[in-house]
Symmetry: C2
Subunit: 348 residues, 2 copies
DNA sequence: CTGTTAGCGCCTTCAA
DNA sequence: TTGAAGGCGCTAACAG
């Protein structure tokens, strides 16, 4: 089925094609009758303006690029969906590309999106390299980072939105401390992740404020998976480190802890309290009911899109801005008050 | 940062801009030296061809549109990711749009994508209306449907890829029958869903072949959620219908059944065997371990993209084609051989 | 091998 | 209010 262009319509209507253009872009300088007549013809002929051509001259496409690690992941899927919904609300469409956490791929996708003349790009990532990459060069379009970065200058060297991971760490630790736990181990910290550093710092400061010593099981691996959580927890359980509660770096890690505990018949929350961080869809399943800290993905998405809209507006902010979203505790069933009689292993 | 165009490069290189174009598109008719020189200049200046302009003349964008219900859903997220990966392997990019199951939205997105000159559109959907919509009119680009449709003419009236839901239903039923169950109820059938009809038919035929009578709990609701599964199962459990095994229409529904069973202290698989259909990520969690039937999403995605590639090739198939993917049983821990002594409620 | 020229489909002055 | 003409950035003949 051949595409019908503005010229075809012009021929049918017996007017110049500039007139068609005017009729379609509700230009004021056209008589209501011709407009109506032309619009009617367009409808009849199924005419649709070629947005490529339109963008070529207007220099705006109305699409923003989104580079995201992996939409099949429960976290990023929700982020991706919400970004699209927000963007659409602002009359923007999004071109979503999965980077699979590969920095080189991110670079290529960025070039691709820019070649496609997207009006801006949002990059969701949890790797510091991305921050370095983005700040180290300048791009033809505004970039918004959705994620965290270790560098203290983040927020002054690029536009970014992130969860307040420090507070997330503090909330989790304080909750456990409030339940009477003292031997709280933070499990799954990845040393080279800014996100994890912030979470850990929050946890550590809350511990110290309560006169307790932070206690960590690091994850030497590159990513926080259920499998890593399982292995780390197993290791912890067969050691003799005191521990009545575990603060897992992510929900996936928490699932691994849960699996290890189940295998060793360690009762959660009877002998061990467990809290995660993310609030994945499946954390709320009846057999899981993981107490966790919600990342508030809709808010993160909205902030990222909102920031992009500002950058795309007529008077964009002169300096870089950094928006921070506050996390929220979700109480479910994997934490209980400390009970020395049943605790897995307590120093007291 | 101003965008650098082919003209800027031409000026710098001191050649006409047709030469630049040739150097970049590895045209044979250009001297190696000029090509090298020009490529070097492009690199230095950070030149990137404007793909909009390029597409305008070539009439191809190298992007295929994907309309998908909701990428935050575990099923569609995986489908979406795999479609993108496959497309990229064929040097295509995808523009993914969430329809949120809204038919009108699908129509708008389709128009939008066509206006953006995508080379083709894949529509993932589980609603028959979409099939009717697509077959009822003609479009400027090839369309591939990923899903099921009730209409027998599906596959002759449009290009489509779907799971062999009939076989899926049969596999599940035969597995349960093989375990000795006779009172097997199919729970969660949605009457107006082609997918469900096919699954149910497979189940029913397997039952009849074994001399058993099919037994259904219908879902009057529009979608198959955990909540619906929970409500339906509760209802079933308080009734006196014989039932030693449940074949849930989807994994989400199975999760609901599991929740209801847990609440009523019905042991799975001791007193009740349960099988799902989908194989969501979380179906494999240690506390769930749902036996289910895998949709083979990577294969579905690959088939859809492969079909699209054929349609986009130099000699596309003349008639419509319909590819069908075979499902696969995933044995986990929610099914056990029938045991009259412990079965929930058996007619025997 | 390289330059010139004519569009791709559309928007936007500038005249009429 | 409408038409004519130029140009967005690029490719593809056609000359030279």
């Amino acid at each position: 089925m051949k595409r019908v262009t503005i010229k075809d319509i012009a021929k049918i209507a017996g007017v110049s094609y500039a007139t068609i253009s005017r009729a379609l872009n509700n230009s004021p300088e056209i008589s209501p009758e011709t407009r109506a007549r032309i619009q009617e013809i367009c409808r009849r002929e199924g005419y649709r303006a070629n947005s490529l051509a339109r963008s070529l001259v207007s220099n705006k496409t109305g699409v923003i690029g989104l580079i995201i690690p992996d939409i099949s992941h429960p976290y990023y899927g929700e982020i991706g969906l919400n970004i699209e919904i927000c963007a659409r609300r602002h009359h923007y469409n999004v071109m979503m590309c999965n980077s699979l956490h590969d920095l080189q791929q991110i670079g290529e996708l960025l070039q691709f999106l820019i070649a496609h003349q997207v009006d801006g790009v949002i990059i969701a990532s949890s790797h510091d390299d991305v921050y370095a990459y983005v700040t180290s060069r300048s791009f033809a379009v505004p970039i918004v980072l959705l994620g965290d970065c270790m560098n203290a200058s983040c927020g002054t060297a690029c536009n970014a939105v992130s969860l307040d991971n420090y507070t997330a760490g503090r909330i989790g630790a304080e909750y456990l401390i409030g339940l009477g736990h003292r031997d709280i181990v933070y499990l799954g910290r990845r040393a080279n992740s800014a996100t994890h550093q912030h979470r850990y710092t929050g946890y550590a400061q809350a511990m110290q404020a309560a006169g307790l010593t932070p206690n960590t099981v690091d994850n030497p691996d590159g990513s926080s998976t259920l499998e890593r959580g399982y292995a780390l927890a197993k290791q912890l359980f067969i050691s003799d480190r005191p521990c009545s509660a575990i603060f897992a770096a992510t929900d996936a890690v928490a699932m691994g802890v849960m699996k290890a505990a189940d295998e060793l018949q360690i009762d959660i929350p009877g002998s061990l309290s467990l809290i995660g961080l993310d609030n994945y869809v499946y954390s709320g399943l009846s057999r899981t009911m993981l107490t966790t800290i919600d990342q508030r993905k809709p808010q993160l998405a909205e902030a990222a899109v909102g920031l992009m809209m500002q950058l795309l507006s007529d008077n964009p902010p002169g300096e870089y801005t950094h928006r921070v979203i506050r996390p929220a505790l979700i109480e479910r069933s994997t934490c209980a008050p400390f009970d020395r009689a049943h605790a897995l292993r307590s120093a007291r």
